[in-house]
């Protein structure tokens, strides 16, 4: 009765690396990703009897992993040691006093990315830098950002899941995007976009 794919003995070989990559791109750390994969298999074995066979095994395993990842992010978000001051540091990009307050700070303003052809953006190297920049975001901010931009949850779902106000959610997302943007500019675009920086 049991098909080849449904046999739990084959799960690790058939889906292990896929699940690992699925977790790794989201949580950024190898050992955490590996633990999540292990937990996923064990949870799957325990609830195998409730698997209805309507979806395929990979889809089912992935949905279990998604829940594990959500739990992981929720845990990170709630953890005291990951608390970051959302008020501070955020606005290094902008002039903080004088008559130009709130304007882009020279040297921090967005450079011209259009000098880079679009296909270069899809290169492996760019993906690599993007991944590293994601990994460099503070954990708490990254956990919210990842649920939004990688998992594709919407604002309401995330606010409910994490118990945050919509306003704080926007602040966190803005922090994440601003940090990511600057990280990419420094590590990828820096040598191509120095000409127009100081025009603010």
């Amino acid at each position: 009765m049991i098909s080849e794919d449904a046999n739990p003995l084959n799960w690790l070989d058939e889906h292990g690396n896929y699940l690992f990559r699925y977790a790794l791109i989201r949580v950024s750390e190898r050992d955490i990703a590996e633990d999540l994969v292990q937990e996923t298999f064990l949870a799957a074995l325990k609830s195998y009897s409730s698997f209805d066979g309507k979806s395929n095994i990979r889809t089912w395993l992935t949905s279990i992993l998604r829940h594990k990842i959500m739990d992981h992010f929720r845990h990170i978000y709630k953890s005291e040691k990951n608390k970051v001051d959302l008020k501070s540091g955020e606005m290094d990009d902008f002039i903080s006093d004088g008559n130009k307050v709130g304007r882009w700070r020279p040297g921090y303003a967005p450079g011209d990315w259009t000098v880079t052809p679009d296909d270069r953006l899809q290169q492996k190297e760019f993906m690599q830098i993007l991944k590293e920049c994601l990994g460099a975001l503070p954990d708490r901010i990254a956990s919210v950002f990842n649920l939004r931009e990688i998992e594709g949850l919407d604002t309401d779902e995330i606010c409910k899941e994490f118990g945050i106000s919509t306003t704080n959610f926007w602040v966190i997302m803005h922090r994440a995007r601003t940090g990511l943007r600057r990280c990419l500019e420094i590590h990828w675009f820096d040598n191509t976009s120095t000409d127009t920086r100081d025009e603010a």
């Binding site: 799960w11 590996e34 990315w113 760019f126 803005h174 943007r181 603010a200």
Partner: protein, 106 residues
């Protein structure tokens, strides 16, 4: 192109700067627009500001580019479209294998 830029800087920018909040607030609205619907007032503020401010305009385009590329990267990575494979380490493969075996054959 150069003339257009000069015109923007000299004529349009002072006007749009006067009419709209500073860049710091506009970037916040630009980011917010990617998660939630802006109010009409906010949308107009962003539109007008961007007419005169090439930096905030770039900020907006770059955020969209990041969003798009991130989505593509995640898919490519998950399905391992790169030559370089990311796989479970042999140690964790064995660890997981024996925990599955334990569960099945205990």
């Amino acid at each position: 192109m150069k003339h257009e830029m000069k015109f923007k800087m000299k004529i349009i920018k002072p006007v749009t700067d006067m009419l709209t909040p500073p860049c710091e607030d506009i970037t916040r609205l630009i980011s917010k627009s990617m998660d939630s619907k802006l109010t009409l007032r906010e949308r107009i503020q962003v539109r007008i500001h961007i007419l005169g401010c090439i930096l905030c305009h770039r900020y907006q385009e770059q955020l969209m580019k990041i969003k798009k590329t991130l989505k593509k990267s995640v898919n490519a990575f998950q399905n391992d479209e790169n030559e370089k494979e990311e796989t479970l380490s042999p140690e964790s493969y064995n660890r997981i294998k024996s925990s599955i075996d334990n569960h099945l054959f205990k």
